[in-house]
């Protein structure tokens, strides 16, 4: 009841209450924090070798030293180091792409949801088109003319999710627009800009935060697929998909060397999906309290 009558950013933040988390959810959030910390602090981790220089024997099996934890690749580089630096590259791409798609999606979604009519139909058409085409196919089509480049991939990944964010924003704006606090603000003579940015947008925050992690997981999979196929992050820069592809060539002789990057990507995607479920559950709890 109180949340319904509150408005503005304070109410949006007041809705960010956290439910009790299960063990797997706590593990997932902890893993993501660890991953981001490793990626940011990679250069300062004591003893971690450069991911692009040979460190030991070629294709050495995993041992219990820091750099040899996941073994070395065919060029003698530390796989652990490459996994950590690969995380940095992947996270930068995914975060930038998310920023692009969220900004674009929020703008298009607010226009569509607030103005309705023709604007809504146009945004729906774009969103549906972008939603059905496999992202890998679209990026491959672009790569066929531009060649592989991290910038092209980041931009395209960012554009591809605009439709999803726009659809969610549109739905949120339409449902919030009919609630009492918006009617109250309108009755008090608030303008469109004020209603959108001060009243509606803050209340979309919980929904939007819940969809970001699973969409990020999707971006990581798409980026990994492209790198695996050789059209993503160009070698020799470390990337999880590229590392899996490289160790696949030697898999019958050195099967153990593949588990480092596989562990990294599977755990990251799992942690993001689980965090998304956790955040979605949080919204459900709040909606029930109203």
């Amino acid at each position: 009841m109180t949340a319904e009558t509150l408005s503005g950013w304070r109410a949006g933040i007041a809705r960010m209450r956290f439910p009790r988390s299960s063990f797997l959810e706590a593990f997932s959030i902890g893993f993501l924090i660890l991953l981001v910390a490793l990626a940011v602090l990679a250069d300062w981790i004591p003893g971690l070798v450069n991911p692009n220089f040979p460190y030991g024997d070629f294709s050495a099996p995993p041992d219990l030293t820091l750099n040899g934890l996941f073994g070395t690749d065919a060029l003698g580089r530390s796989i652990l180091s490459r996994v950590i630096y690969g995380a940095r590259q992947t996270l930068v791409i995914v975060i930038l792409a998310t920023a692009i798609s969220m900004t674009g999606g929020l703008i298009l979604g607010m226009i569509a949801g607030y103005c309705r009519g023709m604007a809504e139909r146009t945004v729906d058409l774009l969103a549906n088109t972008m939603a059905v085409l496999p992202p890998v196919l679209i990026i491959l089509a672009l790569v066929s003319v531009t060649g592989t480049s991290v910038v092209t991939m980041t931009l395209t990944l960012g554009i591809l999710d605009i439709g999803t964010y726009a659809r969610l924003t549109k739905g949120g704006v339409i449902s919030q627009n009919q609630r009492d606090y918006v009617l109250a603000a309108r009755a008090l003579g608030a303008g469109h800009g004020r209603i959108l940015f001060r009243e509606i947008l803050p209340n979309l925050v919980p929904t939007m935060t819940a969809v970001v992690p699973p969409l990020m997981a999707g971006l990581i999979i798409t980026e990994g697929s492209l790198s695996f196929l050789g059209f993503g992050i160009p070698a020799p820069a470390p990337s999880w998909g590229g590392m899996i592809a490289a160790s696949t060539d030697l898999i019958s002789r050195f099967p153990l060397l593949i588990f480092g990057p596989i562990l990294a990507i599977v755990l990251t995607v799992y942690a993001l999906n689980t965090t998304g479920d956790f955040l979605a559950r949080r919204i459900d709890i709040r909606e029930r309290q109203i």
């Binding site: 797997l24 058409l125 549906n128 088109t129 939603a131 059905v132 085409l133 496999p134 992202p135 890998v136 196919l137 491959l140 089509a141 672009l142 790569v143 066929s144 003319v145 531009t146 997981a217 999979i221 990994g224 697929s225 695996f228 196929l229 059209f231 998909g241 899996i244 592809a245 696949t248 898999i251 019958s252 099967p255 593949i258 596989i262 990507i265 599977v266 755990l267 995607v269 799992y270 999906n273 689980t274 479920d277």
Partner: protein, 321 residues
């Protein structure tokens, strides 16, 4: 032809027509792609050692020196007659090559979808009936773990297991279905399994939650009060009302299956759409890329029209319009 049959056909045609703008938009953007190439498109495709005669020849064949809209009209004129141009190097008709490849991809995608549904739906029914139990919890955790496995990981792990370690299945290669059905089955087994890892988990998750919601409804309570057994209630009363949601998810999973086919086909050297598009991208074979985009969008328009009509077939409260 009966009256309902006619109205279904009419509704189907309306939905297809509504999808035409999407097809036009995507194919036009595909035509405009070559303008993104650095310098002259023909030069970029042929490389720096191309002679002026070769460039002129390429421009004459594909119109890369024309503005995008002229090139598009030319492409569209051919496309409506089934002519999608010729491939860049082998000079075969694109449509002919693509149809043969598409059949392979569809065999794999269809098999993966059927296998996933056959496993996931009965399991989801059984778990929804004992929701909250330990075994239900175990399957839910397993499903969210499987959802975190990208196709490029499952191909590696499953081929390591079944092909390299156990030597049960061939690692690469392809035998057409009509040449030797048994060998064909052995060759599609790994690709299908790899695509199914994600699909089984996805279908299970959606179907379980949907069944669970259906089981809370009053008509299930009245069926229980009539003394019917749980399997009977699940099968006769809970399945049907949950189908629309499952149908939606089947349509959406096509995106995943097509996307996954790029990985699976390149990894197992299966000559399908995914394999073709990768080769076309490397060769800058834009006619092929455009035809594949066109085919993909057209498939989605048709599939979503079918899904939409499927709702009306399942739910007697909906009328076909």
């Amino acid at each position: 032809m009966t009256a309902p049959m006619r109205s279904y056909l009419r509704a189907f045609a309306i939905r297809i027509a509504a999808g035409i703008p999407v097809v036009l938009l995507v194919t036009f953007l595909a035509t405009a792609l070559s303008d993104l190439m650095p310098g002259s498109a023909a030069q970029a495709i042929l490389g720096e050692f191309a002679t002026p005669e070769q460039i002129a020849q390429l421009n004459a064949a594909y119109g890369y020196d024309l503005p995008a809209w002229q090139r598009y009209l030319r492409w569209l004129g051919g496309a409506v007659q089934g002519d999608f141009g010729v491939t860049l190097y082998s000079q075969q008709p694109v449509a002919e090559v693509l149809l043969a490849r598409a059949a392979v991809t569809f065999e794999i995608a269809l098999a993966a979808m059927l296998l996933s549904l056959a496993i996931a739906i009965p399991l989801a029914l059984a778990m929804a009936a004992r929701a909250g139990s330990r075994i239900d919890g175990a399957f839910r955790i397993a499903a969210s773990a499987m959802l975190a496995v990208p196709t490029f990981v499952s191909v590696v792990v499953l081929s390591l297991l079944f092909s390299i370690t156990l030597r049960w299945l061939p690692a690469t290669g392809w035998v057409p279905l009509f040449e030797d059905p048994l060998e064909n089955l052995r060759h599609i087994a790994l690709p299908v399994l790899c695509l199914s890892v994600h699909q089984v988990a996805y279908f299970f998750r959606v179907a379980r939650n949907e069944f669970l919601a259906t089981l809370q409804q009053d008509f299930i309570a009245s069926a229980r009060a009539k003394g019917f057994s749980t399997p009977y209630i699940l099968w006769r009363h809970a399945l049907m009302p949950s189908l629309p949601q499952i149908l939606t998810v089947m349509g959406l999973s096509l995106t995943y299956l097509l996307g996954g086919s790029f990985i699976v086909e390149s990894f197992f050297a299966v000559p399908g759409i995914g394999w073709t598009v990768l080769a076309a991208v490397q060769d800058h074979d834009l006619a092929m890329v455009q035809a594949i985009l066109c085919l993909t969008v057209a498939i989605f328009v048709i599939v979503f029209a079918c899904v939409d009509l499927g709702y009306a077939l399942i739910d007697p409260r909906l009328e076909v319009r």
